[in-house]
């Protein structure tokens, strides 16, 4: 019954976006010094615990461009299958030692679909590395809710089409310090005053292998 209701609401949200039946949550993330924080992931989890299973297989991709993972942070819902296209002219070898998903894709050539896709079936943080390029690093943030968004350069993220209700809003960042306040609840989606949830988090310096100077392109993240 409840599953059906959620389904209906979602359907309504899809059909009637302008009708105001579903809501967009906007978050802005800053650090302690007031600087806008990019690559923070905002999640909204219904306090009811009722989460709709996706009707089809979710997929996402992390490309490799100029020996850099793109994107640096990829939030996905549990069960999502990640593909790893290779836009470089050289091979890469992607691995993870993270508890949430340990895997290794042996050196694979440039192109689409040359690497075996990986399905992430446990929530958590998965750090991706490349065996042959020490500085290459990416984070896959596996969440249990379908409602999530990632902040851009402006430090803002918008979670679209959240059905009204009581939610727990959380923030996560690869370099977030434990001291940060990361949870806000309850947030009443649908209530005008609750539709903007901002976070101030402490971000530590990244322990990252520096890409050798002179290399073209990025790869060095905050």
């Amino acid at each position: 019954m409840t599953t059906f209701a959620t389904y209906v609401i979602t359907l309504l949200c899809l059909l009637l976006p302008t009708m105001g039946y579903c809501y967009d949550l906007v978050s802005e993330v800053k650090d302690g010094e007031g600087a806008l924080v990019e690559n923070a992931v905002i999640t909204a989890t219904p306090l009811s615990g009722e989460i709709k299973k996706p009707e089809k297989n979710l997929t996402a991709e992390i490309d490799q461009i100029d020996k850099t993972f793109v994107d640096f942070v990829t939030p996905i819902m549990v069960g999502t299958t990640l593909v790893f296209p290779n836009s470089d002219k050289i091979r890469h070898q992607v691995y993870s030692f993270s508890e949430a998903k340990k895997f290794e894709i042996p050196l694979y050539p440039p192109g689409q679909g040359r690497a075996t896709p990986v399905t992430f079936d446990k929530p958590g943080v998965v750090v991706l590395g490349c065996n042959i390029h020490d500085w290459m690093k990416a984070y896959v943030y596996v969440v249990e809710t379908p409602f999530f968004a990632k902040t851009g350069k402006n430090g803002k993220a918008t979670i679209k089409d959240i059905p009204p209700g009581q939610y727990k809003i959380e923030v996560w960042h690869p370099y977030i310090k434990k001291s940060s306040a990361t949870v806000k609840q309850p947030v009443n989606i649908g209530k005008e005053s609750d539709m903007k949830v901002d976070f101030v988090i402490d971000v530590k310096k990244a322990l990252t292998v520096r890409r050798a100077p002179g290399s073209i392109g990025g790869g060095v993240y905050p």
Binding site: F97, V127, N131, D134, M136, K137, K205
Partner: protein
């Protein structure tokens, strides 16, 4: 002068040491840092190894420890601990049973998490270690490697080889108690640091002077860690003596040179005393000995100066005296000591003078037949007795034995010393010889020796008399026809069966009265004229 140089050298040394110590402290830090950096750099490289990262999560604990141990050996660290993100020990190369236990210092790892990595100093099992904490990135940290390097004497000694200063690392606890972690100082000096290094020393800016034993050490104390995580300090010291060593060497050299100078002047004065004083005293001693009648000495002064010449002269003199003594002794054996003395009183020279000399020749008749009949010892014994007696008689009359020719005696009267009655002396000697022979024959008969008979020839003539031969071997003798005639006359005694035969020239010079018979007028060999010969029978009034 020495004092002045000394003070200047000391002041100079102090400023040199001060400058050096500051540089050396920098070098020390650089070496310590580099040591850490180089080793942890290799550790970092190894930690990036994919297989290594993989193994951290996939092997059993024993294997993991051996992997870490292998890593430790590769980079030559003293220990490595692998620490999890939850601050528990995953593997330790010193104590395998630490696995699963809390790491000794969570704070250190937390600090490393904050900074990405960490250099520090820590104590474990009583040892002081420089440690480096580096993450194992995959690509975020999945664990921490704690790499330790023991701070011990050997490490400091290695550094000392580069910076020359003595290095000590010490800890000063809150109670001001000193603990020496490691030092390059010899054991004896190390002990002396206690009581010399106190909290007050830490606040001294720049150099300070610490006296250890006899030596002054210019010292510099600085924290071992620039960030000051521990209360370990490094003490750099240079002994004044080390720096002053070249100066001391110079001073020693000066002292040696002065000493050599002293020795040389001493040697010179010794030489002078040896070449003047000693020869003089030797000469004085020699003179005293000669005074005492000891001519048998030789002064060993060989130098080539006036003293050397004097010594030579002295030696010659001593030799001359000795020779004279010897000659007089020898002369005494063959001539009467009176004559020997008279001979010696004159200058002995080669060559001779013409002199009228009466020559007496005596011979044992048929001596050859006798010597064939009797053994040589008896003959020799007889001859010695005979010659001794006859020589004594000749000498008693002032004659000189010129030579013995076997059993024959040649004697001179009038040479080398003339007497107015040389002829009479000769005649009396001849008569006495005959008388003595009679007594000798009685003795001979008693000892089984056959009686002998002698003949005597006497001739007076002018001959050349003198020392003949070489300078070393002189022989006083006479040369001339007169000698041959005397020998001839002696020969004639057999023919005329007379005991004593005189020549005419002898006969004419007789002053006393004798019983004499004219025998004949003889032609003597080598003589153109004949000469009248006489036989001497005896003295007048004695028959």
């Amino acid at each position: 002068m020495f004092l002045f140089v000394n003070l200047a050298a000391m002041a100079n040394a102090r400023s040199i040491i001060s400058e050096n110590l500051i540089v050396e402290y920098r070098v020390f830090n650089t070496i310590m840092d580099n040591r850490m950096r180089q080793i942890s750099e290799s550790a970092r490289l190894l930690s990036m190894d994919y297989a290594f990262k993989q193994s951290i999560f996939s092997v059993d604990n024993k294997t993991l420890i051996s992997i870490i141990e292998n890593l430790r050996q590769r980079i030559n660290a003293d220990f490595i601990t692998l620490v999890s993100l939850e601050y528990t020990v995953m593997a330790d190369t010193i104590k395998p049973d630490l696995s699963g236990k809390q790491f000794m210092s969570r704070a250190l790892i937390e600090k490393a998490e904050e900074q990405g990595e960490l250099s520090s100093i820590t104590i474990r099992e009583g040892g002081y270690y420089q440690i480096e904490i580096i993450p194992i990135l995959a690509p975020d940290p999945i664990a921490w490697l704690v790499i330790g390097f023991l701070i011990n004497d050997t490490v400091l000694k290695d550094i000392k080889n580069l910076i020359l200063a003595q290095i000590s690392v010490f800890e000063l606890d809150s109670g001001g108690r000193l603990k020496i972690v490691a030092s390059t100082l010899p054991e004896g000096l190390k002990k002396l640091l206690f009581g010399k290094v106190k909290s007050a020393n830490l606040s001294v800016e720049g150099n300070q002077s610490i006296i250890l034993g006899q030596n002054e050490y210019i010292s510099l104390i600085s924290p071992l860690e620039k960030k000051g995580g521990s209360n370990l300090y490094v003490l750099l010291q240079r002994s004044m003596d080390d720096v002053l060593e070249p100066y001391y060497r110079l001073r020693t050299r000066l002292a040696i040179i002065s000493l050599i100078g002293l020795l040389i002047s001493f040697a010179v004065s010794m030489r002078i005393s040896r070449s003047v004083t000693r020869p003089v005293s030797t000469l004085v001693d020699g003179v005293r000995q000669i005074e005492g009648g000891n001519y048998d000495l030789h002064i060993g002064v060989t130098q080539r100066d006036e003293l050397g010449e004097l010594s030579n002269a002295f030696n010659n003199m001593a030799r001359g005296l000795k020779e004279r003594d010897l000659v007089s002794d020898l002369l005494g054996k063959v001539v009467s000591p009176v004559i020997a003395k008279e001979l010696l009183s004159k200058k002995v020279e080669l060559g001779g003078e013409e002199k009228e000399v009466t020559i007496l020749f005596s011979d044992v008749r048929n001596f050859t037949a006798l010597s064939e009949k009797y053994p040589p010892t008896i003959i020799l014994n007889m001859l010695n007795k005979y010659l001794t007696v006859m020589s004594a008689i000749i000498e008693s009359h002032g004659g000189v034995i010129d030579k013995y020719i076997g059993d024959a005696i040649m004697a001179l009267f009038g040479a080398p010393i003339s007497h107015p009655n040389d002829v009479d002396r000769a005649l009396n000697a001849a008569l006495d010889m005959n008388e003595a022979l009679e007594k000798l024959n009685v003795d001979f008969q008693e000892t089984g020796i056959p009686p002998i008979d002698i003949g005597i020839g006497i001739n007076t003539d002018i001959v050349v008399a003198g020392n003949m031969g070489s300078a070393h071997r002189l022989n006083y003798t006479v040369i001339g026809d007169g000698v041959n005639l005397a020998s001839r006359l002696e020969d004639l005694t057999k023919k005329y069966k007379k005991k004593i035969i005189l020549s005419d020239s002898t006969y004419k010079k007789i002053k006393d009265s004798y019983k004499i018979e004219q025998i004949a007028e003889e032609y003597v060999k080598g003589k153109s004229k004949s000469t009248i010969i006489y036989a001497l029978i005896g003295r007048v009034g004695k028959e």
